[in-house]
């Protein structure tokens, strides 16, 4: 483990990403302390420029809502949607991929057909349709993102399980009569975790991007102040008040960038053998 930590910390990009994400996380957690009012509350005059009013350093939007509060609360929503939808997708992907990879045969065939089916409709289109059908809400957005995100995880896990299943230590466990569920959980899964973790970290990033795209198309949750919503809401005023869409855009960019950097760092640290092959 210390080897992993050392390798990770040697990667400056990953450390920078970790610091950015930590800062965003702190702001998200501290949002109710920093901004006791709801981010929807109209607290001041509309369209105060950033850095003009000490009380509202980030300015206010067209209704006089504090953009700083929006950014802080938006961090909560974006991170939450990213994390929860990824968790759901990863769990589903692991369950399906493990079952397919371990059992093989018709189970594998059936599950892979289902996976293929889900990958046949372009994902953004599928997400848009799902949110429209379930009516836009935080739950439906998380569900839609999870539904379009799990198939690659399933394939990845299946692939790992297919390979690991043949390994000696797994075969040994089979021979001594361990329960398949236990073998999968205690023998195979831990050995397949690194690619899953790397993939999951990147899925968080794309989930945040997807949420912002849905909001942009008018399919966001109306009670949640998210960054995607803020861009969608202020895009009509892009020229009059560019700061309104610039700031949440930059927030998304930074968050996604940080998560990607961390993902790369994880990848490097978890796959040290790759470095020998020149991969970085």
């Amino acid at each position: 483990m210390s080897g992993f930590a050392r390798r990770f910390l040697r990667n400056t990009g990953a450390v920078a990403g970790l610091m950015i994400l930590a800062a965003i996380l702190v702001v998200a957690l501290a949002a109710p302390l920093l901004f006791p009012d709801s981010p929807w509350m109209m607290v001041a005059d509309p369209l105060i420029l950033p850095f003009q009013d000490g009380q509202y350093p980030f300015g206010t939007d067209m209704l006089g809502r504090d953009i700083g509060a929006g950014l802080a609360y938006g961090a909560r929503v974006s991170l939450m949607i990213g994390a929860v939808s990824t968790a759901v997708a990863v769990l589903a992907g692991i369950a399906i991929g493990a079952a397919a990879g371990y059992h093989g045969g018709w189970v594998d065939d059936l599950l892979m057909r289902v996976t293929e089916f889900f990958q046949t409709i372009p994902q953004l289109a599928m997400a848009v349709v799902l949110v429209a059908i379930l009516t836009p809400s935080i739950g439906s957005i998380v569900a839609a993102i999870a539904i379009v995100s799990w198939p690659p995880v399933a394939r990845l896990v299946r692939g790992e399980f297919l390979t690991l299943r043949e390994r000696e230590f797994v075969q040994a466990a089979v021979v001594i009569g361990q329960h398949p569920g236990r073998i999968m959980l205690t023998q195979i899964l831990p050995n397949a975790m690194s690619p899953i973790i790397i993939t999951a970290s990147l899925m968080v990033a794309t989930a945040i991007l997807t949420e912002s795209a849905l909001s942009f198309l008018g399919l966001g949750d109306r009670n949640m102040m998210s960054w995607g919503f803020m861009i969608g809401a202020s895009r009509t005023m892009l020229r009059e008040a560019p700061w309104m869409s610039l700031m949440p855009g930059v927030a998304i960019l930074l968050t996604v960038l940080a998560i990607n950097l961390i993902g790369e760092g994880l990848n490097d640290a978890l796959n040290p053998q790759l470095r020998h092959r020149g991969e970085d």
Partner: protein
Amino acid sequence: MTGAAMLLVATLTPVASQTRGGTLNLIVQPEPPILILGLNQQSPTQYVGSKIYEGLLTYGADLKPMPGLAKAWSISEDGLTYRFTLQDGVTWHDGKPFTAADVVFSADKFLRQVHPRVRPILNRYLASVIASDDHTVEFKLKEPFAPFLQLFGTDNMLVVPRHIYEGTDFATNPTNQHPIGTGPFMFQSWTRGSDIVLIRNPNYWQKGLPYLDKIVFRVIPDSASRAVAFERGDVQVLRGGDVDNVDIKRLEAIPGVEHTTKGTEMYSTITSMLMNERKPPFDNVKVRQAVMHAINRDFIVRNIFFGIGKVATGPISSTTLFYDPNVPTYKYDPKQAAALLKESGVDVFKYPIKILNYPYGTAWDRLAEYVSQSLQRVGFNVQIEGTDAGGWAQRVANFDFDTTFHFTDQFGDPAIGVSRLFLSSNIVKGSPFVNNEGYQSPKTDALFNKASSSLIPAERQKLYSEVQNALVRDVANGYLFENQNVTLYKGEVHNLITSGVGTNSNFATVSLGK
């Protein structure tokens, strides 16, 4: 039209000094599904179709009828017979002559079946329509309907070619893809997703008209791109809704750009907040009054609609006939709102309400957010529910909502555009623009019904004044503001807005010059 016969003769003589020729570039937004006005009445279909089709009458800015395909008309003393004399020498775009039989077919067969707004009126009031000869049509009513003469524009009783539609399935008639009308412009092409092109009708019945050679309607789905198109000069006209209100002030300031809020008198659109009066908390009139006090409607107009609009004084717009400003007012006063809530005895926090979002653009999202905050401030327990057009229409049509917004057109006369929202006989599931809020008052029902059959304007005024007072006192729905529509156009476009239907007129006299 006090019962005495009235005759008007066509006085439309083209001004000689206009420049002929040129292409007018417009935006149609969103892209209409079809151009046959009878089959679709959405605003974009109106915009394009009104150049191709015509009705018997047109309407001035004061909503007075003017000649269209009819050059003269008269009404019998009892208000039951309307007789129209048609213009001479009118032909359809395919060369066939236009006759009284087309008018009869349109009113009696076509519109009665397909026109969602006109058919209930025709089915209720129209006894018969007959062609006395090729150039005379007579409408006979079952009972007097005062605003009948307001219905003969292209918005409502347009005329379609009988020789094409008679005996066919109107909805699937192949000509629907290539509309044939009598208007000054003929359909040329429609590249879906891109543009619709109309060309000059060389055989138009008003000699010398139209001036333009061509009209191109461009499809640009993003509003920011539409603003750019106007700035770059790719289109010469923007009408209300083409760009977001926020862009209008900036575009108005561009040298050589003209702007007007005229040309929407026929529609006099008004935005209301519907409160479902079937259940608490909105079944209590004091709660509804509190809502009116809790909302700063000036703020809404100024900050959400960027000053383009006017706070409404009641459910009848100030540019609709029989408007009366002398009604009780609800000024913005959260304290008064709280007091009224206390007086009502309703603990509003115990009844969580959801605002069903009106899915027609960002300003409406902001409106929901603003109202949500305003109501929370005085003690309501509010959430916003997102939806799209399909979800909204279904929920509102089935009365499945707590509160929502909509804007409705008034079509000049309260009997056409206003009473439908308040008559208890119009509490019918299936459409989002009936009495969806569930307002019930036998008194206003009686006033509305009397006013629509009265032929004496002074009497109608008195009845409608009473109606307005009652609706305002009861907060039958939360009238918020009168939508204004700004039309922006480049200085080279002349005669653009000349009537009460503005850009939905036929553009025969529009010209391009310096």
